[in-house]
Symmetry: C2
Subunit: 267 residues, 2 copies
């Protein structure tokens, strides 16, 4: 491949002043309305990564999708709400023409060696090499190589599913190496669980997304551009909203992220 990778292109930010940066939506990350939520989450995380006064690595990211981002430029304003010795709390706002479209909080922190254990185990699934590539018919999906293990995107005539669980392998289509920003985006790879339960498309959109980063930077670097496994399920659908929780593992079974979201739906 030549030139800048499409993911890095979407994350390209230019400083405006000490607290603000400017970016631009990229056509190859387009969703139904505005850009893929995962690329917005990744861009906000990357904005903090670019800050010279940033401490440590990402631990937690919450993104609130307040209004659709329109195609074109956007500004990200960042505030380090609190800097401690080993961690730092950030507040971010993404706006267009002064209009707030997205808010976020992020916690970065210094990791240190402690007792550790992977309690939530990766399900026993077939390797990605034997599975076919598929995905919803959306522009941004082409940026990934997604191979569904169970419950792919419903097609015309799909029956409602009694379970909301989808499990899939995913890697960057250009096999760009995994880092925190890439992982933030991939943690939003799961199509809305209501589609699966109803067996059909219905208008839906993420309202708030929270991702916890378990892996450290060195661990991610070793994974390169290999597949990771994601598995998502919903807990309750009621009154026009539902939540979904997911986990993302490396191929060798290390839990990389736990990720949760609350989603609006019609119907």
């Amino acid at each position: 491949m030549t030139g800048i990778h499409s993911f890095d292109n979407a994350l390209d930010l230019q400083p405006i002043d000490a607290t603000r940066m400017r970016g631009r939506t990229q056509p190859d990350w387009a969703n139904m309305v505005g850009p893929f939520g995962g690329i917005t989450a990744a861009t906000l995380l990357h904005a903090v990564e670019l800050r010279p006064d940033r401490i440590g690595e990402p631990l937690a990211l919450t993104v609130n999708f307040a209004a659709p981002i329109t195609d074109g430029e956007f500004d990200i304003s960042l505030k380090p709400a609190r800097t401690n010795r080993t961690n730092q709390h950030w507040i971010a706002e993404l706006s267009q023409d002064g209009d707030v479209k997205t808010t976020a909080t992020m916690v970065f922190g210094i990791r240190r060696d402690t007792w550790s254990d992977d309690e939530t185990q990766m399900p026993d699934v077939p390797q990605p090499e034997g599975l076919s590539v598929s995905g919803p018919p959306l522009v941004w999906v082409k940026q990934y190589d997604t191979r569904y293990v169970e419950n792919p995107f419903p097609t015309e005539g799909s029956a409602p599913s009694p379970s909301s669980r989808t499990t899939l392998w995913v890697r960057d289509a250009g096999q760009r190496g995994l880092d925190f920003a890439a992982l933030a985006a991939m943690s939003d790879i799961f199509y809305p669980r209501v589609f699966l339960r109803r067996g059909e498309f219905t208008p839906a959109g993420t309202i708030s997304l929270t991702t916890y980063f378990h892996a450290n930077g060195q661990e991610l670097e070793k994974l390169g551009g290999d597949f990771v496994l994601g598995s998502a399920h919903a807990n309750r659908f009621a009154d026009g909203y539902f939540d979904q929780s997911a986990h993302v593992w490396s191929r060798d079974g290390a839990l990389l992220t736990s990720t949760h979201q609350i989603v609006y739906f019609k119907g």
Copy 2:
């Protein structure tokens, strides 16, 4: 009971100006360091509930515990980052003497009748009436009637547990009726999962807490001061941090909240 309930007392806020309110920590909600995180979460949620320009009911709450709150007065500043037709996005900061201690984002929204389903089922457990009351030796715990179904707080000589799951019934000790603020607090009832896995106390503290509210206000009102069932587990412990996820159900099995947090620990 006479006088104001201890929970309402802790949530008492006085307006300072159009964007700020003042509260005060209450001794009966004290934790190891500062107040119980759940009461801070409830107070932030209640601050938005008090705003005359608030739209709808709580859908999502993220609280970032940036630094310990010291005993005494605190100020909460609120900003409606975005107001849409059916939902509203808030940013909050809790500070003491101008020093930010807690940040939060909240999404409130209007609920409307749609297809609904409770997918994550309540585990089959004994009723609370036959179980004994117990809890960690902390001041705030006395505000609740907690009855453990599995894996109570470790005591001297407890063995490490292979599972991080704790399940318990909880109600307000004074049987104050359940509302969103009470549910926000109860969703943080679970002691740090690392205690259970290690079979001992170790310094630990929540860094970021996210709660999704599934129940609507009418549904909560019908529950009164009855017990709710909570069940929590951890996913991965690594490099000084772990996450825990939990669900809270009404006695008749309706999922009231899904709640997640990332926790710092030593050892």
